[in-house]
């Protein structure tokens, strides 16, 4: 009974939050008690008769780092589009935690609920310093007045410092973001994503165009995110996926072909046939 009362009080109080971005932390509604942060069930999408996604079922655990591979046209990007609200599926269901129905939400709402996406091409604010880039992306009150008078609190400052450390750009903090190398820009972009404190990060082809050293560094970075955030990485590069060495999902023609460790997947006969070209 008292539980009911406190829940009710909490729900009334919650109506004070006119601006959702005023809540610095995760959406209180996100419910991961069953240990699963993302549910995609029986999803179908077709574009002009072409079935881009065909009965897709995918579950991501909280804190998990999952790699998704698949040949071109397997539906990887379409899947990302469904999760972020860019594409609406013809049928199926998509839930963030137990209770948040992604199919009923707009793109910014999904972003505010705690799903962040890194696009293939990095877009950083080139004319501003690395530090300012992270400061701008920080989760905080983003209204005009509070932005005008915003001062970094020591806590926020150390958050930025931590992220700089994490993405390995500590020495470049005052460098103009436009002067960074391609790989560094990708890391900065991931750092900007982290500053928004998402619960689930969708990372689309993070190592495209990177050198081997940069790839190793990126793998380390993504592995270090594991636990604190759930991360879904879509990547073509097999060496990179192997170096992350986590659970791998193979997509083919819009549905899951195989799931398991890299070795299991590589030894799967169906996977060999369609993807590894044997």
């Amino acid at each position: 009974m008292s539980n009911f009362v406190t829940d009710y009080v909490a729900s009334v109080r919650d109506k004070d939050h006119v601006f959702e971005f005023m809540q610095p932390h995760y959406s209180p509604k996100l419910d991961v008690r069953k240990g699963c942060i993302l549910y995609l069930e029986d999803i179908n999408v077709s574009f002009d008769g072409f079935k881009a996604i065909n009965n897709l079922n995918l579950y991501i655990d909280e804190g998990e780092l999952r790699c998704i591979i698949g040949p071109n046209g397997a539906g990887k990007t379409t899947m990302m589009d469904i999760i972020t609200g860019k594409t609406t599926p013809d049928s199926g269901s998509a839930y963030f935690g137990q209770s948040i129905n992604l199919l009923e939400m707009s793109e910014p709402e999904i972003a505010e609920a705690g799903i962040g996406r890194k696009f293939q091409k990095p877009t950083v604010f080139e004319d501003q310093s690395v530090f300012a880039n992270l400061e701008l992306s920080m989760a905080c009150n983003k209204s005009v007045i509070s932005t005008l008078f915003a001062k970094l609190s020591p806590l926020q400052f150390s958050e930025i410092e931590e992220t700089l450390e994490l993405i390995g750009l500590k020495d470049q903090r005052f460098l103009r973001a436009g002067a960074l190398s391609h790989g560094q820009k990708q890391w900065l972009e991931i750092g900007m994503l982290i500053m928004q404190k998402p619960r689930l990060l969708l990372v689309d082809e993070p190592v495209a165009g990177m050198t081997h050293q940069e790839m190793d560094r990126t793998a380390e970075l993504l592995i270090s995110l594991e636990g604190k955030h759930s991360v879904v990485v879509v990547e073509h590069d097999m060496d990179f996926v192997r170096s992350i060495a986590r659970k791998v999902t193979v997509l083919h023609q819009g549905s899951v072909l195989a799931e398991g460790s890299m070795d299991q997947v590589q030894n799967n006969a169906k996977v060999k046939e369609v993807y590894l070209g044997e």
């Binding site: 971005f21 910014p108 972003a111 505010e112 877009t123 604010f125 080139e126 004319d127 501003q128 310093s129 300012a132 400061e135 701008l136 992306s137 989760a139 983003k142 209204s143 005009v144 932005t147 005008l148 008078f149 915003a150 005052f174 460098l175 103009r176 436009g178 002067a179 900007m192 928004q196």
Partner: protein, 367 residues
Amino acid sequence: MKENYTMQQDQAVFNRSTQIFLMVLAAVTALVVICNQVFAPDSALHIPTYTVTLLGKYLTFALLAVAIDLIWGYLGILSLGHGAFFALGGYAMGMYLMRQIGDRGVYGDPILPDFMVFLNWNELPWFWLGFDQFWFAMLMVVLAPGLLAYVFGWLAFRSRVTGVYLSIITQALTFALMLAFYRNEMGFGGNNGLTDFKDLLGFDLQSDITRISLFVASAIALAFGYIACRFIVSSKLGRVSMAIRDAESRTRFIGYRVENVKLWIWTFSAALAGIAGALYVPQVGIINPNEFSPLNSIEMVVWVALGGRATLYGAVIGAIIVNYAKTYFTGVLPEVWLFALGGLFVLTTILLPKGVAGLMSRKGATA
């Protein structure tokens, strides 16, 4: 390589360039006043009051240029209609000055300005009420351009009109206002505008001391306007503006309400332009619909481009250089002026893409 590092110091309101700017402005203002007051008219060091007023006019233009630089240089909105806000501020001041004439007009009517008597009007239109009060007029100097900018910006930014389309409708805005103000029935003096002013707050506008005070007031307004803009651009809001300028959709994606940021900075810029207009009118002694002409607004953009965008002090330098050149050329070779302006613009675009301010910071980096 040095240019690639953004200095932490830039986040202070009173950074080095601001300190230098304010000191130069204070020194020049003091020097001009001293040279005008202390030295006898026949002395070589004497600055005639006519020149002081001319300099005062340049300072109001400089304030206008700072307002344009705030939205163009830092927010990426190219306004080709900022002359409209400048002129509205000017008209608000002009209406106060008209009401101050009282019965000293040609027709001697204690209430109605001359042009209304000439049009056989019997009473003051409602929108002229209250302009006999200085505080009300000053409020209107800020509110009239501010409100217009707010409504215009609300419509334009909400429907995500950007780039060249926005520039074109700002141009249309000022053109429409020009046509409206040319009409006698509008009640703003038609194409003659408002003129023949006598005094401001009881001080004779022709007297030396009033003119010098207006010059000093312009310098103070420029200093405060500059500091206010500097406060905005050095705040986090300034960094958000630059983010909007460089990658608008990315900024929106992070969670900033881009249209609100644009709307408030745009409105602030318009109000600042209005203040500049209000200081301009008593110094030149006239305001007419020509101030709304699109050509004027384009010329203002040229000042900022020539001085250098996104520095604030560049806008001041540009406004002063171009207007000095204009005064010089229109005096010596009037028919050459427009060619000179065009040439100046083409040359800076080719040789100094970052304007005069860019030249200065390049010198500073090598020194």
